[in-house]
Symmetry: C2
Subunit: 330 residues, 2 copies
């Protein structure tokens, strides 16, 4: 699937991903009204509104972009009907040839992590059948629980040729609270005994946690290679370009998924360090800035009824903005 | 809800929680066969088998225990039908008077974390209606993204009088890879600027990450108090009792959810330090050890057809094991 992502990026010349993170407040009233008329002011009604909204945006932008990133939380908050629309969205985007990154940020241990990997990237055995639960192409994964939490995802990635993006340095203001803390030692004795390996060594003296996590990502990436890039990527926020520069070097074989562009404050001119010299290696996300473009002054003239055309215009502008910044830097 | 948890613990004299983490391999063949006969070897068939299995176990043990902890990954791997049974299980347990801890380990930032908090603990606005998506009483939360990821949960906890357990030190072998690393500094300059506060200071010099996270949990807990305990608890694995001792002191107002007892190797004699002198403050989880008890030699005589009675016997034994260990230590 990393190969398909690369092919799609080359085909569109657009190293971007559109975040399908719908909020009811983004959805034009006419769509909400018609969904509520059919299903009532229920979870089903909300889910139907989201589905109609998503579908129109996907139809308007799919030929311009390589990938989408639906944020499952935005669907999960509408319960089972919401998750039904998450699944419909995944399927519909794949039918349109898009790579689907499930932004699920799951992470657990052992058999539980294996269950999450199965849920989002794999197939589950039921009697004699192998069935697909959600079937995204990539998933985002939280590393706090260590290798135990990641390994089951690697196994599924190898088997299904799918991929993960591990959270390394997130785009939010308080991401430094733990991620930036300086580390002095190798892992403590008690854990080393359990690990039964010396993998950590003393290599991390004085490094921030995100770099230690990045080094682990590089290890996991090496064990799970596609042709030029690994199935194992990383999430590094656009809001921390200095750290992006370091992490690009630490994880040379990993695609970096870059949130934080646009609405969160990340600028195109800061994005060059996230890419490799081959012009690949990063994919920049925008959610609100695309799907709710019609609410911005710049695209307001489209009006609520033409929200999907506004999204298309915003995609065109984003691609130009990023490609221009990259040209100036290479 | 922390009050209800405490009331339930006192009523049952059982500081334990049963993890409802069903795997198809645990479910007696007769139940699987009958579910597949009705729904085929489909996700619906698997979900039905899980539901029948859960229901029998809940019916057999609910009067002995204060709380259950369904692990959502085990349901998510069966897609939408699996999650439908997750929701049915939550509802059924609440009808039986049990406190339900959704083991969801969610964690994201800003509006996304708010969506997860709404999904699992809150109510979502749809038109003029406030609707309940999943409606657990507590949820487990991952702290890697910092306060931005936790604050939306705190807001919902205050509004709905519900609670969270933040992952601090997990029970798995490789949890030390990041959680045990020694921290020397305060949060880095760049992040402190964004945070706009000096909350971290220099208090963490030379402390392991789990302790730094524990200190944050204590801060969050202070801001979200019930009568004697906070709505904000922590997860600390039974497999690391020395760390449990330290973390008990660091987070005096937090209930500690303790996984890792039994199947993962945690012993009752090591559990005393997780409790406060009032005999409260911790709740010990067992999943496999209870729900698949009939597969252990000790309970094999029950046979697969009487798996729920085996679970009841295992609950009785676990309560006795833990209470005896606590008596010896107080």
């Amino acid at each position: 699937m990393i190969q398909k992502l690369i092919t799609n990026i080359k085909k569109t010349n657009a190293p971007i991903v559109v975040g399908l993170d719908p909020m009811l407040g983004y959805i034009p009233e006419s769509i909400q009204k018609s969904a509520f008329a059919e299903f009532g002011e229920t979870l089903d009604g909300a889910a139907e509104a989201i589905w109609q909204y998503n579908k129109k945006i996907i139809d308007a932008v799919y030929d311009l972009i390589p990938a989408v990133k639906p944020q499952i939380a935005m669907y999960e908050q509408f319960g089972l009907p919401g998750l039904t629309v998450f699944k419909k969205t995944v399927d519909y985007c794949q039918e349109k040839g898009l790579v689907v990154i499930g932004d699920v940020k799951r992470g657990d241990i052992g058999s539980t992590s294996a269950a999450y990997a199965t849920a989002h990237l794999g197939r589950v055995q039921v009697g004699s059948q192998l069935l697909t639960p959600f079937g995204e192409d990539f998933a985002t994964v939280n590393p706090y629980l260590g290798t135990d939490g990641i390994k089951p995802f690697l196994d599924v990635c190898r088997e299904e040729k799918k991929g993960i993006f591990v959270l390394v340095k997130t785009s939010n203001p308080s991401s430094g609270e733990f991620q930036d803390r300086l580390i002095t030692d190798s892992a403590s004795v008690e854990s080393s005994v359990f690990e039964g390996s010396s993998s950590s060594g003393n290599t991390a003296a004085g490094k921030p946690l995100y770099e230690v996590v990045g080094e682990k990502v590089a290890e996991w990436a090496d064990s799970c290679m596609g042709d030029d890039y690994s199935y194992v990527g990383a999430v590094v926020g656009a809001t921390y370009p200095e750290m992006g520069k370091i992490l690009r070097r630490v994880m040379p074989k990993s695609f970096i998924l870059v949130p934080g562009y646009g609405a969160q404050g990340g600028k195109a001119k800061d994005l060059a360090p996230y890419f490799n010299e081959d012009g690949l290696g990063a994919i920049v996300n925008s959610s609100r800035g695309i799907i709710a473009a019609y609410k911005q002054e710049k695209y307001a003239s489209f009006g609520a009824d033409h929200f999907a055309e506004a999204s298309r215009a915003a995609v065109v502008d984003m691609i130009e903005d990023i490609n221009q910044a990259l040209e100036n830097n290479f």
